[in-house]
Amino acid sequence: MTENETQSVVLVGVGGQGILLASEILAQAAMQEGYDVKTNEVHGMAQRGGSVMAQIRYGTKVYSPLVPKNSAQILAALEQVEALRFADYLAPGGLAAVSAQAITPVTVSSGAARYPENVEEMLKVVFPRLVYFDAAQKAKEIGDIRSANIVLLGAVSRGLDLPPDAWQKAIALCVPDKFKDLNLKAFDVGRNFV
C-alpha cells in the first residue's frame, strides 16, 4: 500500500448475520498495524431483516468513513444476491468474496419479486475476481453455523495486507473468551480456502 492510499472494504448481508462483528474485527486488525481506521454501520430501521452493509477504511489518514462507489478493494457478502446489489462499491479489479447463502426476501415470498436462479453465473459475469463458497457450510463443519461471518472474514483477509497475528489479536479482542478458539478456527478455514 502506498503512502496516501486508503484501503476500503465493504461487507454486506442480511440483518442478523454478524456483519457488524466481522467489521469490528477487521477494524481492530488494521489498528493493530498502526493505521488510521474508520468504519460505518447501520442501526435502527435498516436492521430489521433488511439489507445490511458495514464499511471499513484504513490507511495513513482516512477522511470519509463512507466508501465511495467503485473504490473498495474488497466486497464480501454473506448472502449472494446482496453481493450483486452492492457490486458498484467494488473497484475495478477488486476482489469479491461471496458466500453461497441464499436468504429469501419477503418480496419474493409475497410474489412481488423473484429470487434469481443462476446467481453463480451472474456473480461470475459481474466479478472477474470472485471467491465463491458456502461459508455457512464450512462453519457448520467446524461446529457452529453462526461463525460463517468469521469464515468469510478469513477469505477476505487474503485480499488485504494485514499480517496473521494482527487478525488473531483482533479476534481475541472482539469475541468473548469462550468463543475465541471457535472463531480463530473459523477464520483459518476461510483464510485457507482461498
Binding site: 477494524a27 454501520e41 442501526h43 477522511y63 426476501p105 451472474m122
Partner: protein, 582 residues
Amino acid sequence: MRYLMSGNEAIARGAYEAGVTVGTGYPGTPSTEILENLAKYRPKVYCEWSPNEKVAFEVAAGAAIAGARAIVTMKHVGLNVAADPLMTLSYIGVEGGFVACVADDPGMHSSQNEQDTRNYARFAKIPLFEPADSQEAKDFLKMAIQVSEQFKCPVILRTTTRVSHSRSLVLQEERTAEGKIGFVKNPPRFVPIPVWGRPMRQRVEDRLLRQKKLSESSPANRIEWRDRALGIITSSIAYHYAREVWPKASFLKLGFSFPFPDALIYEFASGVDSILVVEELDDFIEQHVRALGIRCQGRKVVPGIMELSVDRLQVARAKLEGRAEPLEKPVAFSDQIPPRPPVLCPGCPHRGVFYALGKHDVVVTGDIGCYSLGAFKPLDRMDTILCMGAGISMAHGMEIAGEPRKVVGVVGDSTFFHSGITGLLDISYNKGTSTIIVLDNRTTAMTGHQDHPGTGRTLMGDATVAISIEDIGRACGFKRVFAADPYSLKNAMKVISDELAADEPSLIVFSAPCPLRERRRVGAVRQIQTDVCKGCELCLGIGCPAIEGGGEMPKINEILCAGCGLCEQVCPAGAIVAGGRA
C-alpha cells in the same frame, strides 16, 4: 492509547471526562447509544431514560440549575418535543454545564423526516457545536460544557447519523472535577415572569455578541490554507467528504458554528478567489455567508436533500467546474435483484394484530416504531404516521371530521408513555369513540431495546415499578379497557370486532415481550406438512420472513422460525404443525 469509538461512544466519553454527573434522554436513532454508553460510567454518572424528550430536557435542566454538569440526548425530531423547555432555558440559563446532544438523520435512514437541528441553535439563540468525527465528538462535548458554564446557557451539540455511527480513533483523557451542587435562590434569574423575563431577553442578545467573539477564536473553527483558488466552508461529516473531493482546496472548517465566527469567515473569504459552501441539509452557513455580503456557491451545486457523500460531491464538483457530471452506471442485473426491505421479525407479536385489523374496513392511524413496518405489504394495515402519540389523537380527529369508517389508533408501549396519554384524555374528555390499540412488546424495540416506565427496570439496571398501561387507560376515563394476547388470532379478531362495534372509546393492550429482545423462541418451530398443504399461500399473507414462498409450495425456514404459531392459525388446511426444535 487510541480507541476505536463511534461518535456516540465518544460523546459519552467526553461527558464522563467533562465531569458530567447527570445524563437523560429518550431513545431515538441515531442518538440512542450516547446514553447507553454514558450509563457504563456509573456510579460516577447517573443516567435515566425519561418518558419523552421534553421530560428528559427538563430533568437535565433541573440538574444543571442545581449545579450539576448534565447532558440530554435525543434525535432531531425529539428536539421538537423538547422545544418548549429549550426556548426558555435559553433565557433562565443554567449553573452547571448543560449540553443537548441532538442527532440528525440526513437521508432518513431511520426517521420520518429530515430536519436540520442547527436551526434550533439560531432559533433559541444558543451556541452550537458540530463534530465531524469521534475525536471531535469527545473534544467538542467538553468544549460545549465549558462554554455552557462560561455563559450560563444551554448549548447544542449536533451530530448526524454518519458522525454518531461511524467509528474512528479517539485519545482518552482523565475525568475533571464535577460541578458544585446547591441551588442558589435567585428569582430574577430563574423566574421569567415578564418583569424579570424582559431583562433576560436583552441578556440573551448581549450574550450572543460575546459568544461570537469566542467562536471567532475557538480551536473548533479552523482555516486550512492550501491552494487559494477555491475555498470551501464546511462543517460536520461533510468536511471529510469534501477533503477527498477537493484535496487541494483551502478549507474553513466550522465546529463551533453558531454564533457564526464572522471575523474568521471574512478572513477566509479575503484569502481565496472563490467560495463554495458544502453542508448537509439546510443552507444554514450559506445564507449567513451571503448575508455578510460574501459571494459564494452552495445549494446550486451541492444537494440539500438526502445525505451527502464523496460520490455526490464528485457530481457537485463537476457542476461547479462546468464539466459533464459523472454518470452513475446502473448495477448489472439490477432488474433481477429482488428488493429486501426491513420487515417485522419472525415471531413479532405485532404481526397478528395487523393481520386481524386487515379483516376490517377501518382507517388505522399509526405511530413511530417497529410497527411502522405494518404499513408494508402484505400486512398493509397502517394508513398514516405523523409522530409519536399521533395515532391516538388523529383517530379522534378523523372521527369528529365525520370519517364514515371507524378509525383505529395504534401506538406502541414506549410511545404510549412518550405522548399517548394526553391523546387518551382528549378522546374520553371530548366523548370520542375511537378504538385505541397499544402494541405492547415490553420494550423500546426499534432503537435497540431500551427500558421505559412499563418495563420495571431503569437504565441504571435497577428494578423499579412497572406502570400499567391499562390502569392509565382507566384513569384517563376509558371504561372499555382490555388486555389481550397478540399470539391468539381468534381472540385478537374477537376483541377487535367487539370494540369496533362499541359506541364508546376502548383501549386494547396487546401485550407480549419482543422475541428479539428475549433472544428465545415463542414456541416450537413450525413446519408445513407437504402432503396436507394445498398451496393456497394464505400463510404468506402474514408477511413472515421465516416462510419462504416463490416456489411450488411455501416452506418454513427452521433457523428463522420463532415458533409464534400465527401461520398455523391462518392455514385453512391444517398443514402447519409444531414439528421442529422448541
